[in-house]
Subunit: 180 residues, 2 copies
């Protein structure tokens, strides 16, 4: 199994739709159905994003989620940590303390500080996290906007308008923009 | 579960003992019992290391494993890939092709090239792999040798000599050096 699960993929795709929807909240059901993915799966991701302060929830018929801060201030690392928790790359079992020649208790020199192998794994993990921290939702969204034709955004606008409109007649959703 | 499993931890610890044992082969049983870890678990790791050209096996009563090349030429990345296979950090499900407004078939612009999210995950994975490739078994071994007292290497030498000696009386193992 990959280190970063499908929840991260779903979560980031959903957040990209929220970049374009601005002040108009979209429900986890809207987001899931727009993307052809599991509604219940997406519904489990959003409370985590909300807890991390990445989205805010609005209750009611017109309810749903909005980004809680500008997409420039939402990094891939923050999203990954929000969804996965701080899952380590390597989970050191401290086997260095079990050497047969130590007998009952391992000496201090053998167990003090971080194990040399673990230390290198932490450096690798930090390199990965550092890279994830340099990419924001805003930069991903800008890159998608350059790729998708204008007609796509119009079609998505019509799709979401119809959805949010049917929840409260007379209300119009704002033009959505970049998905993934 | 962490991305890199306990097999990687066991494997690297075992390889460190082989740095010190030089031309004297150590069996997976010797290595497991010296470290107080599962014999059957270690026995499953070595064929992978052998297949990757990191260790070579010698058959017979005095059999076991030796490093197949100098420890300076064995990187953490090579060990991880040998044991885990090239496990991706992120397994893209290509959900970008399922957008509700696409109908039956997603347009080429939506599915061509690598998904923007996947692209960033690949950069993070490469940063991690790059870091792992800069650390060798030799540098880890040198760092352990600076930490452990001389008496430890003597004790381990006695332990392994007794083991290998009991397999073929009269034969003496070379002084082992750095574990983890």
């Amino acid at each position: 199994m990959a280190h970063l699960t499908v929840s991260v993929e779903y979560g980031i795709h959903c957040l990209l739709w929220l970049v374009g929807s601005g002040d108009t909240p979209l429900s986890s059901r809207d987001l899931a159905e727009l993307q052809g993915i599991s509604v219940s799966f997406v519904a489990k991701i959003f409370p985590k994003l909300e807890k991390a302060g990445i989205v805010s929830a609005c209750e009611g018929v017109r309810g749903g989620y909005r980004l809680a801060r500008p997409p420039e201030e939402i990094s891939f690392l923050q999203i990954v940590d929000a969804i996965e928790g701080k899952k380590p790359l390597f989970d050191c079992q401290e086997i260095r303390s079990r050497c047969a020649v130590f007998g009952e208790t391992a000496p201090d020199w053998a167990t003090s500080g971080v194990c040399g192998i673990h230390k290198i794994m932490l450096k690798a993990e930090n390199a990965m996290r550092e890279e994830l921290s340099t990419h924001s939702l805003a930069s991903l969204s800008a890159s998608f906007s350059r790729k998708a034709p204008e007609s796509f955004f119009i079609e998505v606008h019509e799709w979401t308008t119809e959805r949010t409109g049917s929840r409260k007649p007379g209300r119009r959703a704002k033009t959505p923009e970049p998905p993934a």
